[in-house]
């Protein structure tokens, strides 16, 4: 991930940059320069739009910010005689402000709802531009938008201006990608829920992404207005949104170079297609369909694969494979033949082991209702520092619902949950995680498309302070944070015995290893209280006893554990206390031997044979 550029790509980059700088002197054709300028505008737009893709959001509203920037800049310069540099930044800021407002309203939505609400905003912006005649001059448009400066004659000054903007933007985005922020964004895209549980706020990073994207789009809009010198509501047309989205997706979403390539291809392609006259748009549509069919991840990744294959063929070397050589055996990493060695898991955490009598977490009169269903009703219990508390009960008794309520992933209808002295009710899941409460999920939850090692890096990274500026400037602190995360990841890999799988994609790990990795992710976020949701589900006896050892080891390091589990062997042997739920109500609480013989527990849950 954070590897420095290879020598080849450095040369390639330097070559591309000098070719771009020299373009006006090597090409006499003004039309190509003009297309290059337009490509530049679209590179800005596509790269900005791509920031949202990096956090897993597909927006259909990029033109709103582009158009707003263009209008702000055009109105300020033509109507109020504001000098261009001021108008330029005002355009960026206005778009950012709009991004903030719209982001706050929409970023809680997901999937198609988000896609279409952003489309709605863009259309509303267009209709305002069209109908607010007094301000925007409506469909008649704003004519005679001045050039940025008197000496902006011909295309060359515009070309260098946009080139500068593009280089700065790409450099900034590159720096961001390889920073704490970039890693957090990657975590969110891969698994937003899990990201929240290790202290990464999906909402805040999405908002950050929206602000950055709208700022860049606003600047691009301003540039457009002063380059075209005429502005009309067509700048807000849906067609343009499509063009931008096509550039990002067809270029290669969430890659740095994909949108750049996409922007160039899709600026040039419609011009090339002029050859076919009225067939132009029909063929464009057809090409778009074909591209989705045959290069669904984009041109850039396809080219990369091609390049890699050529490289291999020429040099005869194989690049390092990221997939494990075999499907993985369950005994690898764990002890073979059922004799698990002591598991040397060690966690470093800031909380010193505390006195057992101290109460860490209190749940009072907790109620969670879904519609008319009382999933959890008036449940009270507390967790003492350093203990292992198990919650058991039949399916649907409300165990996971309680974990979700504590970690604020799910709702609380009534009642109070407090951690030490802080009330958790009003917090968001990432804030709970930052209180030192970690968790695992019932269904395996990892960052599936990055390496095992990277999973742990992302998890360790979650708690780092985020400062955009520090990251972009690559301050000592941010460099140190990156190093720390790498070191911590390696340590956990070693301790969970996942070291041989460090480079494997998380999704390709055998199931048992995935469950261990989940635990590793939770540990990497350095919790003082760890909530485990059915960690033994689907593990075989040797694996379970291994898990048992791990849990005890973790507790010895001073981490308090709440365990939701069906495996009675595990529960009975590790728990200090057990809470039993049935139909959302607590029916028993006590030491394992008390619970085991409790009549109600036997009837509702354990059955006579156990």
């Amino acid at each position: 991930m954070a590897q420095p550029l290879t020598r080849t790509s450095r040369y390639l980059l330097a070559g591309l940059l000098s070719a771009a700088v020299l373009l006006p002197y090597t090409v006499s054709d003004q039309f190509i320069i003009r297309l290059a300028i337009q490509s530049g505008i679209f590179i800005l737009l596509a790269s900005a739009h791509n920031i949202l893709m990096k956090v897993g959001l597909l927006s259909l509203g990029p033109v709103a910010f582009y158009g707003l920037g263009a209008y702000v800049s055009a109105i300020l310069t033509t109507r109020y005689d504001v000098p261009f540099p001021v108008a330029f930044f005002a355009a960026g800021l206005a778009a950012t402000a709009a991004g903030w407002v719209i982001g706050r309203l929409t970023l809680r939505l997901r999937t198609a709802y988000f896609v279409l609400v952003t489309l709605g905003f863009a259309e509303c912006f267009r209709l305002v531009a069209l109908n607010w005649i007094d301000m925007t001059n409506g469909p008649m448009g704003i004519t005679a938008v001045p050039p940025p400066a008197r000496w902006f004659v011909g295309y060359i000054p515009y070309f260098y201006f946009i080139l500068l903007l593009v280089v700065l933007t790409l450099f900034g985005l590159y720096r961001m990608e390889h920073s704490t922020i970039g890693r957090a964004m990657q975590a969110i895209r891969q698994n937003e829920l899990l990201a929240g549980s290790i202290g990464i706020s999906g909402f805040r990073y999405m908002l950050l992404a929206a602000l950055l994207a709208s700022f860049i789009m606003g600047l691009a809009g301003s540039f457009y207005a002063h380059f075209f010198q005429f502005l009309s509501p067509e700048i807000l047309a849906f067609d343009l949104t499509i063009a931008i989205v096509v550039m990002v997706v067809a270029g290669g979403r969430a890659t740095l170079m994909g949108p750049v390539l996409g922007a160039i291809v899709f600026t040039v392609l419609p011009e090339v297609l002029r050859v076919v006259q009225v067939w132009r748009m029909a063929i464009f549509g057809l090409l778009l369909m074909l591209m989705m069919l045959f290069m669904p991840d984009g041109i850039w990744p396809a080219l990369q694969r091609l390049g890699q294959r050529c490289f291999e063929r020429v040099t005869g070397r194989r690049t390092a494979a990221v997939v494990p050589s075999s499907f993985g055996s369950p005994s690898e990493g764990f002890a073979a033949n059922g004799s698990p060695p002591p598991v040397p898991v060690r966690v470093e955490h800031e909380v010193t082991p505390t006195d057992r009598s101290q109460t860490l977490l209190t749940v009072e009169r907790l109620c969670v209702h879904f519609g008319g269903v009382q999933a959890v009703h008036m449940v009270d219990f507390d967790v003492k520092a350093g203990e292992i508390l198990s919650i058991i009960g039949p399916n649907g008794a409300g165990k996971t619902t309680i974990l979700n309520a504590i970690t604020r992933v799910g709702p609380i209808t009534d009642g109070k949950i407090s951690h030490q002295d802080a009330l958790l009710n009003g917090l968001r899941s990432y804030e709970v995680a930052r209180c030192g409460i970690g968790r695992t999920f019932q269904n395996t939850s990892l960052f599936p498309d990055v390496s095992t090692r990277q999973n742990l890096v992302l998890a360790h990274n979650g708690l780092e302070p985020e400062s955009l500026l520090l990251n972009l400037l690559r301050s000592d602190a941010s460099v140190q944070a990156a190093k720390d995360a790498e070191v911590a990841a390696d340590r956990i890999l070693e301790r969970t015995r996942l070291l041989p799988y460090g480079a494997s994609l998380a999704r390709s790990l055998p199931y048992g290893h995935q469950r261990v990795l989940e635990l590793g992710i939770a540990l990497a976020a350095r919790p003082s209280l760890l909530l485990l949701d059915e960690p033994a589900a689907g593990l075989n006896p040797p694996e379970v006893s291994n898990l048992m050892a791990m849990i005890q080891q973790i507790r010895h390091e001073g981490v308090t554990i709440v365990l939701v589990e069906h495996d009675m062997k595990l529960v009975m042997s590790v728990s200090d206390r057990i809470v039993v739920l049935d139909h959302g109500r607590k029916i028993a609480e006590g030491r394992p031997e008390e619970v085991r013989t409790n009549q109600r527990v036997v009837e509702a849950y354990l059955g006579k044979r156990s």
């Binding site: 709802y113 989205v245 096509v246 997706v249 029909a282 549509g285 369909m289």
Partner: protein, 291 residues
């Protein structure tokens, strides 16, 4: 007052068509998880088929509607098979962009096949208004409304009662489990996409005599259908009907009393307001529900 009632009536008439469009789209989204941007182009093609078959070839109007539904439905089936099935497992933006490509392709092919000149289909029913008290109703519009609701009710029955309908709903909820029950998921997808496309075509065919037929008529319809689907709640049939009527009436009142220029904003403002207040739409469910 009279105007208000007339606006409500007008809104109801156009709302029926919005509902019909929305249901086709919501069905496709629900089962296949595809945001179909070519929905308006299926509507456009339905209108063009009616123009070709009814106006040019002189086939009776009702038959022409059936032909339109079948032809466009078949196109939907082919689209699913050739375009959407190969990319079914890709992230959702891939099929979305593929349907955007399809919409551009279809609109521009219509431009080439039927030329850009707007077409008039002629009237199968009188368009001259019948005065009902101070209100005006036309037989043609009444027919459109009745037909829209017959088609909606028919689709609902089909989904609830028929074997295929149940298979569609099962696939919607759990594709793999449905396959293990013996449901041919590929067939379900083809039927669903074809059915949704046919409903859009019927809407186009129904409105063709009232309006004009031209290649770019679909774009705005796609947007309106999205509004209906989102406001009603993704995958919700009753939601789509409610939202369709709501949108029709809101637009009529808005265009009448507020501003014509902002009329098209009403659909989007409705989307924004509903989603900010109720993020799953009016009748939407946490888990999408097709009922």
């Amino acid at each position: 007052m009279v105007e208000l009632v007339q606006h409500l009536l007008n809104g109801f008439l156009i709302g029926g068509i919005y509902a019909l469009m929305g249901i086709g789209l919501t069905l496709i989204f629900g089962v296949m998880n595809v945001v179909n941007f070519a929905h308006g182009q299926f509507y456009m093609l339905g209108a063009f088929v009616v123009y070709t078959v009814f106006t040019l070839a002189g086939v009776p109007y009702l038959l022409a509607l059936v032909v339109a539904a079948m032809a466009v439905g078949l196109l939907g089936v082919i689209t699913e098979r050739l375009l959407l099935r190969p990319i079914r497992d890709q992230p959702p933006d891939v099929p979305m962009l593929a349907t955007i490509g399809l919409s551009i392709f279809l609109a521009n092919m219509a431009l080439i096949i039927w030329d850009p000149t707007p077409k008039d289909t002629g009237l199968p029913f009188p368009l001259v208004g019948v005065k009902v008290g101070p209100l005006t109703l036309t037989p043609m519009r009444l027919f459109v409304l009745v037909a829209a609701f017959v088609i909606i009710a028919g689709s609902h029955l089909f989904l609830q009662r028929s074997r295929m309908g149940k298979a569609i709903r099962a696939t919607f909820q759990d594709r793999e489990a449905a396959a293990l029950m013996g449901v041919d998921v590929d067939v379900v997808n083809m039927v669903t996409f074809g059915w949704g496309a046919a409903m859009a075509a019927l809407a186009g065919g129904l409105l063709a005599p009232i309006f004009q037929v031209f290649p770019t008529m679909g774009a705005i319809v796609t947007a309106k259908s999205f509004a209906v689907v989102i406001v009603g709640g993704l995958g919700s049939f009753p939601g789509a009907i409610l939202a369709g009527l709501l949108l029709g009436i809101a637009e009529s009142l808005g265009a009448g009393y507020v501003s014509s220029g902002y009329r098209d904003a009403i659909a989007f403002i409705l989307i924004i307001v509903v989603l900010v207040v109720r993020p799953t739409g009016l009748l939407g469910h946490e888990t999408h529900k097709l009922a």
